[in-house]
């Protein structure tokens, strides 16, 4: 295999990926959440990998502006992994670029579930318990210990995992290329990704109606009726409506967002939503 590309990403680049992971939620949007901070994080590495090919570089930028959401403390690991996959893509033109986002999608939800539990529901609670007990006695050790207990494990994650992610990405893909499994794995990653997206369609989309009907003493919410037929029916339908508009009708997302905002405000004003 061509070793020049492999050496493109150095330890210095991986350190930069760790540093830039700290900006992981600088800006958030309701449509794709923290996609731009991800691009900020791995952008310089993408430039190094694809910089000599403007078209491929802009494809890579667009590839990493899709929906992304993860626990902040695992973003270094993700950054290393994605960059490793990009390096492999450059080396193996046969590899389907869709593989990268399939991997991203199938990992971000489950790993964030695990690490949100570890950081927010475990380490943070311990940090708060210690911090509260000192602060309640009027001691500045309270906030200081709170900050340290929460952030020392966090920084070990930030600065210790970019390289692990990079090596895992490289090792996994290299082995796959050698054994000719890459297409099977792409298919498998897509299946995993779609199962995870299916779960997110239910839990992250909320489309609810405010309409009620029936006599005042037995007022029934239309929303409850619809959810009784199929839980989250309207959110599910909305997802497929957008999918169809995007894929079959090739509607520009700008119009989708604009149309959605106007439609929702009008429906709220009419008391329908």
């Amino acid at each position: 295999m061509n070793s020049n590309t492999k050496e493109i990403i150095t330890d210095k680049d991986l350190r930069q990926i760790s540093w830039r992971a700290l900006q992981g939620a600088t800006s958030v949007n309701y449509e794709r959440f923290v996609n731009k901070p991800l691009l900020w994080q791995i952008g310089p590495a993408l430039k190094k990998i694809w910089g000599d090919d403007k078209e491929k570089f802009s494809e890579a930028l667009q590839r990493h502006l899709v929906f992304f959401l993860s626990t902040p403390q695992i973003k270094s690991w993700f950054g290393g992994l994605f960059v490793a996959l990009e390096v492999e893509l450059k080396e193996n033109p046969d590899m389907d670029p869709a593989y990268i986002n399939a991997v991203k999608t199938s990992l971000m939800g489950p790993l964030s579930g695990v690490f949100d539990s570890i950081f927010l529901n475990c380490i943070r609670i311990v940090a708060c318990a210690v911090g509260i007990s000192f602060a309640a006695q009027g001691s500045f050790l309270g906030p200081i210990l709170y900050a340290l207990i929460y952030n020392i494990p966090a920084f070990i994650m930030y600065f210790g995992t970019a390289k692990i992610g990079y090596r895992m990405g490289t090792a996994a893909v290299t082995n796959l290329q050698e054994s000719g499994l890459i297409n099977k794995v792409l298919e498998a990653a897509s299946i995993l990704g779609l199962i995870v997206i299916g779960g997110m369609v239910y839990s992250n989309i909320g489309v609810n109606l405010a309409l009620t009907f029936g006599p005042p003493e037995a007022l029934t919410s239309l929303n409850d009726v619809l959810n009784g037929i199929f839980p989250g029916l309207l959110g599910f339908a909305t997802f497929f409506l957008f999918y169809w508009l995007l894929k079959a009708k090739k509607v520009n997302t700008l119009y989708l967002v604009f149309g959605t905002l106007i439609a929702v405000v009008v429906l709220v004003a009419l008391g329908i939503m």
Binding site: Y30, I164, S190, L194, I195, N204
Partner: protein, 261 residues
């Protein structure tokens, strides 16, 4: 210290409530840290510490996880502590004054985060031109505007009193604020549809249904869905092939030299 300087410093703490996410998600935008700092600014660190302990216990369960956006504990605790120290109020009364501002800060932030779908489009255009620095500029613009919003909420509430800020904001039609909050539930459908469109076809759409049904009827968490997915993938494809994949991905930092073939 003049009111203006106090307002400015408290406003900076308000801005930090957002900027924490730009410096490593340190979780220093919580009552336990903010209230003592407010105490230092207003010259009563001890009360700040005590209120920090009390408010942190109160807001312990209120954190943003995934796409669930929690009410703003940071803005609430900055203003509640400031009101309590300044006017000698008890915590509950001070919170009653502070929480409406925090709720408003969250509503206005909803408007920003929904609106950022438009600036995302600008970022897409930069990406299409291969201009990564343009995308960074959009990100920093969005983040700084978000911090500025929180700065102003705290700054104005301290100078003019929370009642007058609430009164001014109430002039914004409720339908706009409610509409943006409601849109916050609908917009992820666009992001997820875009994501699905990169990998979904008529042969595998059934797996999206499986994930949906698992979450909707069985209330399975994502990790359970992913594990079921792994089982499906392993049974669907020949498992012996995947032994190599699994061994490859579990190798961390050592050479793969024990291939079986």
């Amino acid at each position: 210290m003049s009111t203006l300087v106090q307002a400015f410093l408290l406003g900076l703490l308000g801005a930090y409530c957002h900027l924490d996410w730009a410096v490593g998600s340190l979780y220093l935008n919580r009552p336990i840290v903010l209230a003592p700092l407010v105490g230092l600014i207003l010259g009563d660190p001890t009360t700040g510490l005590l209120l920090g302990a009390e408010l942190e216990a109160l807001f312990l369960g209120s954190v943003t996880i995934g796409t669930y956006i929690a009410p703003d504990a940071g803005i609430s605790s900055i203003l509640a502590t400031a009101f309590a120290i300044h006017a000698g109020m008890d915590t509950q009364a001070a919170l009653l004054l502070a929480v409406p501002i925090a709720v408003l800060a969250t509503s206005l932030q909803n408007v920003l985060w929904a609106g950022y779908s438009f600036t995302s489009k600008i970022a897409d255009d930069y990406a299409a031109k291969g201009d990564e620095k343009g995308v960074y500029r959009v990100m920093w613009f969005e983040g700084i505007l978000n911090a500025l919003l929180k700065f102003l909420m705290v700054f104005l509430a301290w100078i003019y009193g929370s009642d007058s800020v609430v009164a001014i904001i109430n002039k914004i039609p409720a339908v706009i604020l409610n509409g943006m909050a409601t849109a916050g539930g609908v917009l992820p459908a666009i992001g997820l549809a875009m994501l699905a469109s990169t990998m979904m076809n008529k042969n595998n759409v059934i797996y999206l249904l499986l994930g949906y049904i698992g979450a909707a009827y069985l209330k399975l968490p994502t990790i359970a869905l992913a594990l079921i997915g792994i089982i499906i993938v392993v049974t669907k494809f020949d498992f012996s092939d995947f032994k190599n994949v699994l061994s490859a991905s579990s190798v961390v930092g050592k050479e793969v030299d024990d291939n079986e073939f």
